[in-house]
């Protein structure tokens, strides 16, 4: 079908079925860009109305933001892994372990700088280990993640000890909280990720490899190298996130990082990206999604939904979004021709 003919056609005379109309809208690239923002706006408006404005109080917004910054940093980093077609659900445990080591070093030295450095480096090192397991030993990343999750949590538990919690001084955490460290660190990481993702060869290669590995290889790309880079970049995000979560509660506990894997996945899909990677991946999905998840968590709590119910609601939303996002090919040839 030639371009002129399709350009002349008015969509009204085509008698599109409802399903086809939905398809047309769903595949428009502007829709894909705007949908996550619309979801976020919608959630904010709904909770604003349901709580008769209490949702907009500074303390509430600050707490939403505190949570979003932890999830968002992680999700931004993990997007690198997802876009290459890999899944890693161990990041919650990685974050817990990195935070444990960071607090331990703080306990010994009393230095906030060392705490930040050790937290970040630990996370990067652990992610590199995860990646080596899957690249060198040829095990699927998700399988590695399931196994190492157990190992990392038990190491954290051993180091944290009987109290179930290791604390840092309030002075240090509030200095870091109010001194703008979190915002600067987050922004720097976010901008760095967006640039790497959209404007460098590495970022483009990750996405292309996630879409069709065979084709990418024939165009001179290497999956092993790209996988390493994606895990290292993700590790950096998880490490920063570990530091943010220490600052948030002035401590690390055996609970730190639990449930984060799910939050990150939910944030990714809410941000409009597929957790299966490929061409629709981008670097900002995690941030938008994290804001949405944090707003959802807080809003539901404020309108009196129990935290067990919140888990369920998030699960349902996640399933619905994954369903909507997945490209199901018809089993037999569906040749859409132009």
């Amino acid at each position: 079908m030639n371009k002129e003919a399709s350009a002349e056609t008015d969509s009204k005379e085509l008698n599109l079925s409802f399903k086809e109309k939905v398809e047309v809208v769903r595949n428009s690239r502007f829709f894909l860009m705007l949908f996550p923002f619309a979801m976020l706006a919608l959630i904010i408006v709904i909770f604003g109305i349901m709580t008769s404005g209490r949702f907009f109080r500074p303390t509430v917004l600050r707490s939403v933001f505190s949570q979003a910054i932890i999830i968002g940093t992680c999700a931004t980093g993990v997007a690198f892994i997802y876009s290459n077609g890999n899944l890693d659900i161990s990041i919650g445990a990685v974050l817990g372990l990195a935070a444990t080591f960071a607090v331990l070093i703080y306990g010994v030295t009393g230095s906030a700088l060392l705490m930040i450095l050790v937290g970040t480096i630990t996370a990067v090192a652990i992610m590199a280990f995860n990646c080596t397991m899957s690249v060198v030993c040829n095990i699927k990343t998700i399988t590695v993640a399931i196994v190492v999750t157990q190992i990392y949590s038990s190491i954290s538990t051993v180091f944290i000890g009987g109290a179930g919690k290791l604390e840092i001084t309030n002075a240090t955490s509030s200095a870091l909280e109010n001194g703008g460290f979190r915002y600067i660190a987050f922004l720097a990481y976010f901008i760095f990720s967006v640039v790497v993702y959209h404007f460098t060869k590495v970022g483009r290669e990750l996405r292309f490899l996630g879409g069709n590995e065979n084709c990418a290889k024939q165009t001179g790309m290497s999956n092993g190298k790209a996988t390493y880079i994606s895990f290292l970049l993700a590790g950096l995000g998880v490490g920063l996130s570990a530091v943010f979560s220490i600052i948030d509660v002035s401590a690390v506990s055996v609970e730190t990082g639990s449930g984060l894997g799910m939050d990150v996945m939910l944030a990714t899909v809410l941000g409009g990206m597929s957790i299966f990677g490929g061409s629709r991946s981008n670097a900002y999905a995690g941030l938008i999604g994290a804001l949405t998840v944090a707003a959802l968590n807080k809003g539901l709590l404020m309108v009196g939904v129990s935290s067990a119910m919140i888990q369920g609601i998030r699960g349902v939303i996640f399933l619905a979004l994954v369903y909507m996002n997945s490209e199901r090919q018809n089993l037999l040839p569906a040749r859409v021709q132009f």
């Binding site: 371009k3 008698n15 079925s17 290889k217 040749r335 021709q337 132009f338």
Partner: protein, 501 residues
Amino acid sequence: MPEKGKVLVEVKDISKNFGVTIALSHVNFTVKTGEIRGLIGENGSGKSTVSSIIAGLQPPSHGEMEYKGKPWAPQNVLEAEEAGIGMIVQEAGTIANISVAENIFLGNYKRFMKGPIINRIALVAEARKALQKIGITDINPALPARMYDMQERKLIEIAKCVYNDPDLLIVDETTTALSQKGREIIYRIMHDMADAGKSVMIISHDLNEMMEQCDTLTVLRDGVIIDNIEKKNFNPNDIKQKMVGREMKDHYYRDDNDGYDDEVVLKADCITTMKDLLCFDLELHRGEILGIGGLSDCGMHTVGRALYGLDPVVDGKVEITGSKTVVKNAQVAFRNSMGYVSKNRDTESLELNASIYSNIASSGYDKNKVGPFISIRKEKDYVSRQITALSIKCQNAYQPVRALSGGNKQKVVFGKWCADDADILILDCPTRGVDIGVKAAMYELIYEMKKNGKSIIMISEELPELMGMSDRLLIMKDGKISGEFFRTDGFDDRKLIEYMI
């Protein structure tokens, strides 16, 4: 004996649109019993669309059909199959990881079931019968389908289709994937069916084949039927003109005898691969179009893959002579200005879900860099130059490639490599499944590259294009070069075929 010449299928005023694009517009035609009806037209003209509507793969947007004198509106393929309409599709229709027998009876296991258990012995025996029915004895139905190559898997599909004794057989662009032997099998089935008072619809881009095998040809262009032509009125130039809507030049191959440089740019030095090749030698010169032909299982596709570092070379080496670089893998090949167009377009040459833009841009990350960053401006330029030069039919560059027709997809693949400006290009069946309009454009491009001093290896199962384009032509048989021919001496197709078999 059923009566011949009765109307079996009647298509009345059928239209079909995909999104905002019209694929078929008010199409009317009939298929009669005892008839072999050919559908011919350029890529995207609506041939596959109309046949897939008849076979229940998709519903029409508008219009109705009659089959065996009753209204016909199949809900799905199974309904059509039960009613006696069988279709062999263009794409691979077998599942790799289950056995041949399971493929043949896919969805019809019930008759082999004893309670919850499938009787595999009976299943395999029946599958063997199905294969024998079309004269195939060298495929073992107990083995998984992945053990067989594309041609053999196509034959498995044919066996599956014919086993059900259809009244109407639809063959969609199948023959281009088959060698002469496979083609003969399918022609015999078609004629046997027509003689028995059944009907056949065939879609192919091979005009000679269509003129030989069909009783009537229906020419489609841009979703509209242009003409129905009886066998006695077949005239190739007239049909071509009706297909593309303009006069076709007689020579779409090159007609020069320019020759090439003596300098060798790529050399295979006694290479041995896991399959097919044993101590294979080859030299490619600057500015040369080197054709490699043979039967589909002669090892020529492996040559292409091995030269580009995709199939491991276990002994010997492939060397880019200028820089003395040994091509160990595809990364080395790509970095040293080589390019490769796979014969498996959808699975290897394209990222189907990505846009035209991403696909073309994928070869230029290094070229479009400013410092460490990719310049979007340069990249846009890189992509749009190709879209314009190749006149890729699309709404915009951000359209996903999967929505394009076969010919346009192949143009995107070519665009990616033209933009890359590789010095050595290996093309494996570059014109498979594309229409003559697109073919002509590709030949012109290939010739243009040659004139610019690029070296091209063209692997193909179609002798005419090899003879039309090559400077030098290697014929392969059983993993070895059985003959070498030069453009300057002129090519003789009978002689070439002798060396193939």
